[in-house]
Symmetry: C2
Subunit: 392 residues, 2 copies
């Protein structure tokens, strides 16, 4: 193997690849907007279904529209016996994100809309996927723990029904509300890695399920949606508030990162972190484990100070930082934290797939096909002469 | 819904996003190189396993290395009973690419290497995936047609064993050789859409299966690997050589495309088409259906002439153009054409995932996180004031 130039890859940082009407992330001002609305306003005043409607149809729904949209979503809260059967064949220790990536691809089976490329067919697939994500994941949680799969409760909203199908118990008002807010906050974030994957797959004219399944794979990475799991593992490793300072110093000394601090885009606190933190505090207190919140808070302060002192840089909490302790206090299994992120983000993914497929100047997708720079000069600038087996 | 500026998306055409040592596509010269070697030389002189070795390890293997590598691949020619069980739960009319995308994600289950990020673990997953793609697809073909799943034949090479597991019959020399050459020709093509998807998912530090499953989704689109299916459907619609000219005129008049003609990168005939054409001719003749080849040849000539006459542009055959009739003459079911492409391209995908994960300047992946330009001025340049439900 020749040692040539090293591979250059800047991860497309700072490269504007498309325009979008779906959301705006202003990382300097710490401002996140869905279709014109500040995420703080939406988290405070709108429910998840309202926000999904906004993302898909560009306007907040009126009362009647919301009622009908909730009905459409509720009517899709099932997965076929074939998919349940396939899940039952999976080993109980399978990673939930692998199950979700496979499950989404399996959901395509039997949906005749996959062969259509009309706006109506794509809209139906989007609604189905948004409705079925919680159903699929809840079914897997029940199956892997040897419990009966719970039927959807048609009188519950999206977030509450997810909790119900996951646990078999109707969540109280706080739990349902906090899950709803968490779903609102994670629903959309412009061209993040998983959304970019979804758009990219859709750009080949692959169907909605193929695109969304790919996005699930992308979200699973620890530099993306997998980060909330890493945050919780970190909190558990630290264990007590008093151990935070030493942990921070040890990790930074060793050149390791502090999960949940720092973000590719934000140069200030992620606006979502400020909404998640008080919810985390309230629920951690409720279950008598306020230390998870306290460790987080201490880690935020000590981590920020240490980065400033050691590297002279400001570092900020991101969306994963307080969602970890929040989900934990909600009783969500740690390996389901990233799937919960997916349950929310599927709204953004589907909105982006629709934009990719229909909103371009030509009214159809443009295949993403970047260039690369070949630096494999194995035989110098010319191609290699083939060497027959006997001469190798 | 406000009508704002239209969405701009140039599909990253002409944008160099990374350097690579894996392959070079010179679209102007019609030159395709894998790790320094011309694809024509490899197709003529090397087998698929040799080429896979080259792609993964940067050098052509010597006799002993090739022997050991073939042994490693052959030892992985199985899928677990759990995956077989999951496939059996799927409806027989499922799209094979959906089954493959799901199946690859399911293959992750029980592979302890998914939790590792070492070069050794990633290499093992690459070899497993390359070995298991044909096994998974052949199993699905047998299951959906109600036949017994065929056990791998350890004495057969990769291509021949694929044909054997698919059909239950050992292929003769021509069939095995032509499948082998087809696999060599489709193995790698730099930053094409599916490879870009794989790299993009891997850049989040998601595992190899997640990345490759996403790539399968991307390949399924008709602007990418799905094109070979479209070519065959087109040949069937045309039916006879005499009908070609009228078909060409009708399609171009209606503003539709001719599948298999034109490519995002090549500005001359795809070098792979010249190798596939004579193989297609030979096999079509052998099964007494030379008209598929003849329609293709006529379509190439009439299509090129019509494009020149009507639009003043040169258009060229791409890799899908002659692979369609070749696969058909081999007895491959039409909806398996794109899966056969995947059986080959998984070599390129895994090589790229390895490069993405380890060859960067920092020795670890850089998350792809492009920027987008928000043009959703729903309320003018400022954000929208939230409108309460009662006022909508």
């Amino acid at each position: 193997m020749e040692e040539n130039q090293s591979i250059i890859n800047t991860g497309l940082r700072g490269v504007t690849i498309a325009s979008t009407r779906i959301s705006d992330v202003d990382g300097v001002a710490g401002r996140l907007i869905y279709r014109g609305y500040l995420v703080q306003d939406l988290a405070e005043k709108a429910g998840y279904e309202e926000v999904v409607y906004l993302l898909l149809y560009e306007n907040l729904p009126d009362k009647q529209q919301l009622k009908e949209f909730k009905k459409r979503l509720a009517a899709e809260r099932f997965i076929t016996p074939e998919v349940i059967e396939a899940l039952k064949a999976c080993p109980a220790d399978a990673l939930p994100m692998d199950i979700l990536q496979a499950g989404v691809a399996l959901l395509a089976n039997g949906d005749a809309d996959v062969q259509q490329q009309t706006a109506e067919a794509v809209d139906r697939m989007a609604v189905r996927l948004i409705a079925k994500f919680p159903v699929l994941l809840a079914a897997w949680e029940r199956i892997r723990t040897g419990k009966t799969v719970v039927e959807a409760a048609s009188d519950l909203d999206h977030a509450a029904n997810f909790m119900y199908m996951l646990t078999g118990e109707r969540p109280d008002e706080d739990l349902a509300h906090f899950m709803d807010v968490a779903l609102v906050l994670h629903a959309e974030h412009s061209f993040n890695a998983s959304t970019f994957s979804a758009r990219q797959v859709a750009s080949t004219r692959a169907h909605m399920y193929a695109a969304v399944s790919a996005a699930v794979g992308s979200l699973s990475g620890e530099l993306h949606g997998g980060a909330n799991v890493r945050v919780m593992q970190m909190l558990k490793r630290i264990g007590t508030k008093d151990a935070v300072e030493e942990y921070v110093n040890t990790e930074l000394e060793a050149g390791r990162v502090l999960f949940g601090l720092g973000h590719a885009v934000y140069k200030t606190d992620d606006p979502r972190a400020h909404i998640l933190a008080p919810m985390s505090q309230k629920l951690c207190r409720r279950i008598g484990e306020e230390h998870w919140y306290e460790i987080s808070r201490e880690l935020e302060q000590k981590g920020k100070a240490a980065f400033k002192a050691r590297k002279g840089i400001e570092i900020y909490t991101n969306v994963d930082f307080y969602s970890a302790s929040l989900y934990y206090a909600m009783g969500i299994p740690i390996d389901f934290f990233t799937p919960v992120f997916a349950v929310s983000r599927v709204a953004g993914w589907t909105a982006h797939v629709i934009e990719e497929q229909f909103a371009g100047a030509a009214g159809k997708p443009t295949l993403y096909r970047p260039e690369s720079d070949y630096i494999g000069d194995y035989c110098g600038p010319a191609e290699c002469a083939f060497v027959s087996m006997d001469e190798r």
